[in-house]
């Protein structure tokens, strides 16, 4: 009798243990799924691209990886500021047109300052400062209305988005601002490292090697300046969000604003700062756009707004606030870029990108919700 009940207990614990182990695996998977998904995508595209092209085209090349990194910079930059705002329980719909405004202002300043005889390098610095200042002003307006007048962020940033759109189009006359100094284009298109392939196999640091013909075609730019700048902003964002009081307060406000207020968190000031930050990261994206395309485009950011929010959501930031990480947003942006590039290389009609990205957004949220379910079960 006693022996029997003992066996019972041990089988029970064995099943319990296996359930617990399964749950543990599920939970870990749901936490790291974005990484797994990203790697799976890269593997999938590497294989399928070379198979469908019968070995002519490779997905996993140095050049392609650099193209992807360059392509994500504006989306990621907007997503970084957005990550802070959303974790604090807000949303910033104005960043798309802020990017356009910053692109236009910086381009106009660069063009006109050089035309007035100022040296290109200081002119470009002033132009960048102007673009950032204009963006910061927009963020300040967002923040002030949201924090002081208690209007919901969705409404405020939607309204401000239209206003900024009008302002950017007025400043630019509705056209791309052209005639910029060549130094600006160099900044947007040159890089930290250069690799001359095709047999020569040389690595150059900071200075583009003088190459022509066949070698020029084999020249790869590694870590273009836009990528380097974005990486620096990512590092600052990680530090701010995860290591400082500023970051802690961001989470506290998103978790329970009333509690944060009562605990002495300067909620209004913090909220204003968050919207300024969000606008400034979008502003940086605008500057980089002017530099890369050697033109100030008012409409540069508008198509990227929803992509940046999608990156944030895929990265696991909850729109209810309080939850999320910078690394998530980086992965989210990478997933979108890899998907888009990969589908193009597979020769899939471009419109399919939207369908796929949209499905991934919904999938991401479903996985995050199922994690709560798993944890909930683990508790009971």
């Amino acid at each position: 009798m006693a022996l029997e009940s003992q066996t019972d207990v041990s089988t029970l614990t064995a099943t319990q243990q296996s359930v617990r182990a399964q749950r543990h695996v599920l939970l870990t998977l749901s936490r790291v799924w974005a990484w797994v998904f990203l790697i799976a995508l890269i593997v999938f595209f590497s294989l399928s691209v070379s198979i469908t092209s019968e070995g002519d085209v490779n997905f996993l090349t140095l050049r392609n990886s650099q193209n992807i990194l360059i392509a994500i910079t504006p989306v990621l930059l907007m997503g970084l500021g957005q990550t802070f705002v959303i974790i604090a329980g807000g949303i910033d719909l104005s960043v798309g047109w802020v990017m356009g405004l910053s692109s236009v202002i910086s381009a106009l300043l660069a063009r006109d300052l050089v035309a007035r005889g100022i040296d290109p390098t200081p002119a470009i610095f002033l132009a960048f400062a102007g673009g950032i200042a204009a963006s910061g002003m927009v963020g300040l307006i967002n923040g002030l209305i949201i924090a002081r007048l208690k209007v919901p962020p969705f409404i405020v940033t939607l309204g401000v988005s239209f206003i900024v759109r009008g302002v950017a189009l007025l400043f630019s006359g509705g056209q791309t601002v052209a005639g910029l100094p060549t130094q600006l284009r160099d900044f947007g298109n040159e890089s930290l490292l250069y690799w001359v392939g095709g047999g020569a196999n040389q690595l150059h640091f900071l200075r583009r090697p003088e190459v022509t013909g066949e070698q020029l075609r084999a020249l790869d730019r590694i870590l273009g300046w836009p990528v380097v700048i974005t990486a620096i902003v990512v590092a600052i964002a990680i530090f701010l969000l995860h290591k400082t009081q500023f970051g802690r307060h961001t989470y506290a406000i998103g978790g329970n604003k009333e509690a944060a207020l009562r605990a002495g968190v300067p909620v209004d000031r913090h909220t204003i700062l968050l919207y300024v930050m969000s606008a400034v990261t979008a502003g940086i994206a605008g500057l980089l756009h002017s530099a890369r395309f050697s033109g100030g485009s008012p409409t540069a950011g508008d198509p990227l707004l929803l992509g940046s929010i999608a990156a944030v959501v895929i990265g696991g930031v909850s729109l209810f606030g309080g939850v999320g990480q910078i690394s998530g947003t980086v992965i989210g942006a990478l997933i979108i870029a890899v998907l888009q590039t990969g589908l193009v290389m597979l020769g899939v009609e471009a419109f399919w990108q939207f369908i796929v990205v949209g499905s991934v957004v919904i999938l991401a949220v479903l996985i995050d919700q199922s994690r709560d379910l798993i944890i909930g079960r683990a508790e009971s």
Binding site: K243, R248, G255, A259, R262, A263, G264, V265, V323
Partner: protein, 253 residues
Amino acid sequence: MEPVLSLRNILKRFGGLTAVKHVNLDIFPGEVVGLVGDNGAGKSTLIKCVSGVYHPDEGEIQFMGQTMAFSKPIDARRVGIETIYQDLALAPNLNISANIFMGREAKRRYFGGLIKTLDEEKMLSESRRVIDSLDIRLPNFGAQIDKLSGGQRQAVAIARAVYWNARLMIMDEPTNNLGVPEQRKVLDLIRKLRESGVPVILISHTLPDVFAVTDRIVVMHRGHKVAEKQTAQTDSQTVVEYMVGARSDVRAD
């Protein structure tokens, strides 16, 4: 003995509604005072005036002999008035030590204070110290608040107040939504606070709890303070009569 807190003629209006009407109240060191009354009697409003959430329209608040004018809750906390709210003032997405230090995070300084980072180790060890000193048992110290039970959350809120050297503790229905063992635990914590000399104002609808831990009971009815009794010299029948307005020691105006 000098009162720790002395309220003189406090009046608070919300538009046309007067939620608190000319209330006087003294709280002395080391005593637990129960504040009871029906729903909407004005209990929460009165204590929110003390904790800096509201500014009274009339009257005077004296704390440790000084006249106070709080414009924000943090002003009240700075002088040592800690409040455990009816609606818990914790961030559910943060862990225990982050909540204990919320708004007053410990920081490490680098480059002469140019760069400051969170001092997680210090916050963690200090939180552990205060939680242990209160005999609170928590399963997993790194847990987020929303993974804790109601009683454990209440304990964290109390630990936070104790850590920041509360000189007056206000608790607005701290045993709300708690199981019986957890209610006991909170009552034990209140007794501990009294032993350490910290006076407590306890708002509760659970009269047995109020009778179990308080030294004095103050009853409010429709914004008035209608009774003030030594707990040992009254009973719940009498208190209920005051609560429903069947008895009153003040004339209504």
